[in-house]
């Protein structure tokens, strides 16, 4: 049974149980309760999701860098990363992806609806989710395209303020290669399971400071926290499972959780795939990314399922198009039982973006 079917079954079965109406009994009981003085309460703070992300990005990069490189004592943790290339790929692509998420305005300006066929899909949930989902396109593209060709190198540095340098490479859908370098120091704390990590990650023209501290407990279940300060930090739970790897990522800003996703890297029916689940935040749904080859062209195929009173599923097919010396994503969305329609967005990658990822490449058709 598939996960979405199971969840739907649980929901349906739970609604079959008759729950009696005790509302009048309860009112009768409380009418005789003593009155309490009213207490002054304050509304929960709300916040928006934008400028501080650049700062948080640095700590997020640290977390992923940690996953790549952290080997406490050498022997205990290393076996959990049997397929370390997958972890490396995931880490690199995740870092890039988070820049996309950080730049909220980026998607506003690089999006347009081509507008044929989507008049029949006005109530389509995927319409409101596609912008957020597409922010993860870069990570998926690189992870799924790079396969096992990451060419990881580790080097101990002698004439540097950093102890270690790591280099690894990714490829994307149009076969472009990107180099990533991470320079870092790792210092164990008194408790040998705890450590601090300091350094920076270098991607194209961009560098991001990394600071992290972490705690590892067992080989297949690694918990970490990277903190910018006591109120701003990122927690990550890495789990090696039978079917692959899952990373649970939670970003906390001013002591409030603002974003939470899980990314599960695995294989099904001979296809390597990554499942993106939005757990917390403005977005929702479960998205399974695969790369398939059609007519000698690589495309990303995304199966999606969005739960709710009226759940929705469908398929998104994504191709990278070359227009006027720039690339963009062309997405064909086909909700189940609905009509196919198209979105496009600029495809500007982390390494091609200027410092802090502020520039936008956008091509209008």
């Amino acid at each position: 049974m598939k996960k979405k079917e199971l969840l739907q079954l649980i929901k349906t079965k739970s609604q079959e149980v008759e729950i009696k109406d005790f509302s009048q009994n309860i009112i009768d009981r409380v009418k005789y309760l003593p009155h309490h003085e009213e207490q002054v309460v304050t509304a929960k703070r709300k916040f928006r999701f934008q400028p501080y992300f650049i700062g948080l990005l640095t700590t997020m990069a640290a977390i992923f860098a940690f996953v790549i490189f952290y080997q406490p004592g050498g022997e205990e943790i290393v076996p959990q990363f049997e397929d370390i290339d997958q972890i490396i790929a995931f880490s690199a692509l995740s870092t890039a992806s988070l820049i996309e998420i950080a730049e909220d305005n980026l998607t506003e300006s690089s999006y347009s609806i081509l507008g044929f066929g989507n008049e029949d899909n006005e109530d389509s949930k995927i319409d409101t989710e596609i912008i957020d989902v597409s922010r993860y396109m870069e990570i998926m593209e690189k992870l799924l395209s790079s396969d096992n060709d990451f060419d990881l190198e580790k080097e101990e540095l002698t004439n540097s303020s950093y102890q270690m340098r790591m280099n690894f490479k990714t490829k994307d859908l149009v076969n472009q290669q990107v180099d990533y370098n991470v320079y870092y120091n790792r210092t164990p704390l008194q408790n040998q399971n705890q450590f601090t990590l300091n350094g920076y990650i270098e991607v194209g023209d961009n560098t991001y400071d990394i600071t992290a501290e972490g705690l590892s407990n067992d080989a297949n279940h690694l918990s970490m926290r990277a903190a910018k300060d006591a109120s701003n930090y990122i927690d990550m739970q890495y789990v090696k499972e039978e079917f692959g790897y899952t990373f649970y990522v939670q970003i906390t800003k001013d002591n409030v959780v603002i974003e939470e996703v899980s990314l599960t890297v695995g294989e099904e029916n001979g296809y390597k795939q990554v499942v993106l689940d939005f757990i917390e935040g403005d977005s929702t749904g479960s998205y399974t990314f695969r790369i398939i080859e059609e007519d000698m062209v690589k495309t990303i195929r995304i199966g999606y399922y969005i739960a709710g009173t009226e759940s929705e599923s469908g398929v998104i097919t994504v191709r990278v198009m070359s227009m006027m010396n720039a690339y963009q994503y062309m997405m064909v969305i086909k909700p189940e039982g609905g009509t196919a329609y198209t979105y496009e967005r600029g495809r500007d990658t982390t390494e091609g973006r200027g410092p802090h990822g502020m520039s936008v490449v956008s091509v209008d058709l």
């Binding site: 049974m1 598939k2 996960k3 199971l6 969840l7 079954l9 649980i10 929901k11 079965k13 739970s14 609604q15 079959e16 149980v17 729950i19 009696k20 109406d21 005790f22 509302s23 009048q24 009994n25 309860i26 009112i27 009981r29 409380v30 009418k31 309760l33 009155h35 309490h36 003085e37 009213e38 207490q39 309460v41 304050t42 509304a43 929960k44 279940h221 918990s223 927690d235 990550m236 739970q237 789990v239 499972e241 899952t246 649970y248 939670q250 959780v257 939470e260 899980s262 757990i279 917390e280």
Partner: protein, 170 residues
């Protein structure tokens, strides 16, 4: 959610005219928060009434803007755990097993209970709170008093277990 918050503000002023609406909007969450710990449906219904009574009694402690489902689930869970522990103690000390419904008695034969019974207690609770009660994981964390990563880990393990075994009980 706006509707429920508006009703809570009325309830805060001891205006109960919309309480039946509030009850209907929240009864599933309260019921399942209880039955994930105590299987006895009759006892659960008693505890439901206690939960709402306690909520109304202490409504001034409810912070505007908080998640009412999580808040009610917390009250319901605490009452259920207290009752569960009290019943266990009484059974041991008084040896009057027949007269006190234990958590495993009065077994309900609805399918949902057959499904949930495939899980360990903590798995059952987290699946119930997330899938049936629609609580977000971050709201479940303070209820079960476990770190987010652990909650997610338990949840995923439970879902995996159910995927394999649910066909055996339905």
């Amino acid at each position: 959610m706006d509707q429920i918050h508006a009703i809570i503000e009325e309830l805060r002023k001891r205006d109960y005219k919309s309480f039946d609406t509030f009850y209907n909007l929240t009864k599933n969450q309260v019921f399942y928060a209880i039955v994930s710990i105590i299987r006895d449906k009759d006892l659960a219904e008693d505890l439901m009434q206690d939960t709402y009574t306690k909520f109304l009694e202490k409504i001034d402690q409810y912070h505007s803007g908080a998640n009412p489902y999580a808040y009610l689930s917390t009250i319901a869970r605490n009452l259920a755990i207290n009752t569960y522990n009290r019943n266990k103690k009484e059974i041991i000390s008084d040896e009057i097993i027949e007269s006190i419904p234990s958590p495993e008695e009065s077994v309900n034969d609805e399918d949902i209970f057959k499904i949930l019974d495939l899980l360990e207690p903590i798995e059952k609770e987290i699946v119930t709170l997330h899938v049936i009660n629609d609580l977000k994981f971050k709201d479940i964390v303070p209820i079960v008093d476990k770190p987010l990563g652990t909650v997610l880990w338990i949840y995923n393990k439970a879902i995996k277990k159910l995927k394999e075994k649910v066909g055996d009980v339905l």
